[in-house]
């Protein structure tokens, strides 16, 4: 590693604003300097020449890299992978890389192709075109039982006819390991996942969380280069899911194995991952850190899918760099950030998160006033070791008068359902439970406000 300034994710390209372009262009950046020790094979870097993944570029054959240190290559690299089922394109030209020890998530709605992508990495499906390489080794034509990856299935797929120890020993036995070594390894891994002494139990005797840990132990004991997880928390109840999220993240940090996790649950992806790819209709919309996904969505889909959001439709009245002024269909004028490529007069959807909207901003801590100028929006990975610098204060200039329709009480996640004046548009406003807003009743007219940089505009209808 050369420091946090280097993005661990390449192959998706990106512009200076930190917005990563969708991989549709097949753009990829040049890798850091690397000298091949063997000139006889094409290394992945060559496949990325001229900023494009060169079609047909294949990483070296098996064995060539065995003498090289493994961290030269990312644990997993996927290049321009396409998979079609008859007329339906499940995975459409997806490229990404995951470096060693990362927790990488693929987040998307059901049917977006994420499971197909995972099954291709595991070897259960083969891509129609594109390259999947693990630690620099091309996986084309290699059966699942010969790949250095293991998959944790959605319903875990523990073998019900075998005890916990036999389940974990299954893979080791297939490698022909001696009985004594197997017993020792099984014991070690059971301790590591916090289940010492559970070897003799049957999977049916375990609780949901324990089964989860056995499934992880069964894969980790084989020391895979990449551990693939197919929504393993989906079947758990809420409380346990919250707990397993933290446990998985801790475990991953401890063992240092590269995790590729797919989920439709944004909270799972955001909490656990180092990087998240948002997938929609077979394509990656954005690959970024969880915080950047939330703060700087690259597309309307990402803005709508990650976190909750309100949408206002309107027309761009002014554009200056990545900032602009929107006149909504109701006639209100708001300042917001603007996605690249939008010009004055364009029809836009403005996305604003309920938690970014302040109730009664002039009475609260928010200071009114125009921003002195539009501060550049720092990408998170450009600020080593810390949060992105806050935009200058005094930028909270947007105001709207809304009528409270209903109070949706949900503890910490409570919200107000409101309508802007003269409109049936629904606008959600976060309702902090700090007793300051206890006086608000349905039917009240309140003023809300938000920061100039909290809203973001995309071309109208592009997220649907």
């Amino acid at each position: 590693m050369q420091g946090p300034a280097v993005s661990p994710l390449r192959g998706t390209g990106g512009n200076r604003n930190g917005y990563r372009t969708a991989p549709a262009e097949g753009a990829c950046q040049t890798r850091r300097a690397w000298r091949p020790r063997s000139s006889s094979c094409t290394v992945p870097a060559d496949g990325c020449r001229n900023g494009r993944w060169r079609a047909g570029a294949r990483p070296c054959a098996a064995g060539v890299h065995d003498q090289m240190s493994p961290d030269i290559f990312p644990d997993l690299s996927v290049g321009n992978v396409v998979k079609r089922f008859e007329k339906f394109t499940a995975v459409d030209d997806v490229s990404f890389e995951v470096e060693q020890g990362r927790f990488f998530s693929i987040l998307g709605p059901s049917g977006c192709g994420k499971t197909t992508l995972l099954r291709m990495i595991a070897g259960f499906e083969s891509p129609d075109s594109g390259v999947i390489a693990i630690r620099g080794r091309d996986m084309a034509g290699i059966a699942p039982n010969r790949r250095p990856v293991n998959l944790i299935f959605q319903h875990l797929a523990l073998f019900p006819m075998m005890s916990v120890a036999e389940n974990i020993a299954f893979g080791l036995k297939r490698r022909g390991m001696a009985g004594g070594d197997i017993a020792r390894k099984v014991q070690d891994v059971l301790e590591r996942v916090g289940l010492p002494g559970y070897g003799a139990k049957m999977p049916a005797q375990l609780s949901g969380g324990q089964r989860q840990r056995v499934a992880i132990a069964r894969c980790l004991v084989l020391e895979p280069a990449v551990l693939l997880l197919d929504e393993p928390l989906g079947a758990l109840d809420l409380k346990l899911r919250e707990q397993m999220k933290v446990e998985l993240k801790t475990l991953q940090a401890e063992v240092g194995t590269t995790f590729v996790y797919i989920t439709h649950d944004q909270s799972e992806a955001l909490v656990m991952s180092d990087h998240v790819a948002v997938m929609n209709a077979g394509r990656f919309e954005q690959v970024d850190t969880p915080r950047n996904l939330y703060r700087r969505p690259a597309s309307a889909f990402v803005a709508g899918f990650v976190g909750e959001t309100n949408v206002w439709t309107g027309t761009l009245e002014e554009v200056a760099g990545d900032a602009g002024v929107v006149r909504t269909d109701e006639g209100a004028v708001f300042r917001a950030r603007v996605a690249a490529g939008l010009a004055r007069g364009a029809r836009v959807d403005m996305f604003i998160r309920p938690e970014a909207v302040l109730i009664d901003p002039d009475g609260a801590a928010c200071v009114t006033g125009d921003a002195p100028d539009y501060a550049p929006d720092y990408a998170e990975d450009a600020a080593p070791g810390g949060d992105a610098p806050l935009p200058p204060r005094g930028a909270c200039a947007n105001r709207a008068s809304v009528q409270v329709q209903a109070i949706l009480f949900d503890g910490a996640a409570s919200r107000l359902l409101t309508h802007p004046e003269g409109s049936r548009r629904e606008v959600m406003v976060a309702l902090p439970q700090n007793r300051l807003y206890d006086h608000i009743k349905p039917g009240d007219r309140i003023t809300v406000g938000w920061d100039d940089r909290a809203g973001i505009c995309f071309a109208a209808g592009s997220g649907r």
Partner: protein, 293 residues
């Protein structure tokens, strides 16, 4: 809940229960239990034409004294076990293909195709085989026509043909329970084993077969009993060269009119099938109650 209902409903419910049970009890009592008791008594008595009306083990002694009887008995037992094994070996790939390999619609179609021949009586199916295999049959016609064999070969009336016929006759009774247990096998278990480094054979041995064990055993019991008690197929396809124990029983009852000897043979066959099934369950560690589910 049902206990409360029963105590409240009282005589009405008891009458319903009696109405439902009567046919079953009559069926079992008149057609199964009563004849068996009669046969059991008969097997311990001598042929009345000999005049001796007392109890005796003579019929059973006769069985061990005459090698043709007990050799046929052992042969029948051995071949029945072999037929059961072969049926399993043929049916497992078929059932696996139908449930796990092909698409759902194709799988239903294939199952129907498997069932279809069994709408025709066993007799007709065996005659079908005979038309194919006999000396002047279809197969021989082709073989001589193509010049592969100079003269027609008699393919009927030997042990191999008989066993093939028995496997064919009993295959469905193995495929159906196998299909039902394989349908309950989660595909992800197979994939998980594959992912953890197992090859196809290991997956079969460690995942598929252990999961299917109840289905295998219930199929095996049915196939074994049907084969052991089969008369038609061994008689028609095995001919006189391939004796089956049921033919011995038939001979005693019909040819020799020695019902007492026949009854003794019948009970020996019942004892044999019970012993072998018990042994099979013991060896595979299965329980009869689980297998018959």
């Amino acid at each position: 809940m049902s206990a409360v209902a029963a105590s409240k409903a009282g005589p009405g419910l008891r009458l319903t229960l009696a109405l439902f049970l009567t046919p079953v009890v009559l069926w079992l009592g008149l057609l199964i239990v009563l004849p068996h008791i009669d046969l059991l008594i008969m097997s311990f008595r001598m042929d009345p034409s000999f005049g001796d009306e007392g109890w005796s083990f003579e019929n059973y002694r006769q069985f061990f004294a005459e090698p043709i009887y007990w050799l046929t008995f052992v042969r029948t037992a051995g071949y029945s076990v072999l037929v059961t094994l072969l049926t399993f070996l043929v049916s497992l790939p078929v059932a696996f293909y139908v449930t796990k390999v092909v698409a759902r619609n194709t799988s239903r179609f294939l199952l129907t195709m498997l069932l279809l021949p069994f709408w025709v009586s066993e007799l007709v199916r065996v005659y079908g085989w005979m038309i194919l295999l006999r000396e002047s049959g279809v197969l021989n016609h082709w073989l001589t026509g193509l010049g592969i064999t100079a003269a027609p070969v008699e393919m009927l009336y030997n042990d191999a043909t008989m066993i093939m016929g028995l496997v064919y006759t009993s295959m469905l009774f193995m495929v159906v329970p196998l299909v039902s247990v394989l349908e309950s096998l989660d595909d992800s278990l197979i994939e998980a084993a594959y992912d953890l480094g197992a090859g196809p054979w290991t997956i079969m041995r460690t995942i598929v077969v252990p999961h299917c064990m109840p289905g295998i055993m219930s199929g095996a019991i049915v196939v074994f009993m049907l084969t052991l008690g089969n008369y038609l197929t061994p008689n028609l396809m095995g001919g006189k060269n391939s004796l089956w124990f049921t033919e011995q029983i038939y001979n005693q009852f019909i040819a020799s009119f020695n019902w007492n000897q026949g009854a003794a043979f019948g009970f020996l066959l019942l004892a044999l099938s019970s012993c072998i099934i018990w042994l099979g369950l013991r060896l595979t560690g299965q329980k009869l109650s689980r297998v018959v589910q």
